[in-house]
Symmetry: C2
Subunit: 183 residues, 2 copies
């Protein structure tokens, strides 16, 4: 049976998590893998309605995503999470849950200055103006991964280069991609 | 790719849902399928902490189980739920969610008298004495399925006969078990 794993993106809002996650999902599906993206918003609707953005609620939300990723991954699926997941301890907890599946963490590193400049959704402007409370990176902490499997800096890399780098890393780690490509 | 489906047990506490679910899981795994049981208690811990037993909270809990079952099933897994799931409307909602996977509902029918007599966990005694509030079948409604794929009555059937009947039904419905057995 194909071995599944969880591909866990973490990083600030706007750092490119969803973009790279979607491109990777597309390419991995094309190569014959089963892939499921756990989109942060969809998960909040389906698994975490009623939870807010306090540390406790964020942790609960991330734990739930991690629980579902592990269920999928241990059944041969590549489960992709693209939630901010700001706290190191809960990310470590989610990783530890994967006793029968691989876990691959991608840190989407992007300087705050760049994110504030881009501000595609206009969220940083609002956060800096105090209109959004508890915004990760501005008024709420983000704890960088100490030892992620991959670091991607979208302020200096082209997204296609990041994708190629990610796929190469997944291939190199043959214990994760064991029985990799399927017809 | 193997087609997954959800095997959804519904019925009163003590009607034999978990027993049959576990036997079916064992046999289906033995036949080479990927199987995941979503145990009611485990789900309450991991996905529904904080939810109680009001109609609204029960519905939310069942919706979450259904959401995860569908994620697994559409990725080729046989997802098994063995929660009481007392309300018809939410069960219908969960079924409707399965647009890319099969859904097979097993109604564990067992007369209340028999359950009260058995009372393996002593819960019915407490519920009848009013020590447990909102106990399904005693002080909280259970809405029987109108058109389940299978009815099992554990007050008159031996569990091995029920298991054989269930497996036969799954095989007959080849649209559910398509590409069924894997080496």
């Amino acid at each position: 049976m194909e071995r599944g794993f969880t591909l866990w993106f973490t990083g600030l809002s706007g750092a490119g998590k969803s973009t790279l996650a979607n491109l990777a999902a597309h390419e991995l599906r094309h190569r014959g893998h089963r892939v499921e993206i756990l989109d942060g918003d969809e998960v909040r609707t389906n698994l975490s309605k009623g939870l807010g953005f306090s540390k406790e609620d964020r942790d609960t939300n991330i734990r739930r995503i991690g629980y579902v990723c592990n269920l999928l991954a241990r059944n041969g699926v590549i489960a992709i999470s693209a939630a901010i997941s700001p706290y190191r301890e809960v990310r470590a907890e989610v990783r530890a849950l994967h006793t029968h599946a691989g876990f691959f963490e991608v840190f989407m590193k992007c300087p705050l200055d760049t994110l504030v400049q881009r501000d595609v959704k206009g969220l940083y402007k609002k956060a800096l103006a105090g209109e959004i409370k508890g915004f990760t990176g501005v008024s709420d902490p983000y704890e960088e991964p100490l030892n992620p499997e991959l670091v991607v800096d979208s302020s200096i890399e082209q997204v296609n280069d990041s994708l190629a780098k990610l796929l190469r890393e997944l291939e190199v780690r043959s214990h994760i991609m064991r029985n990799g490509v399927r017809a």
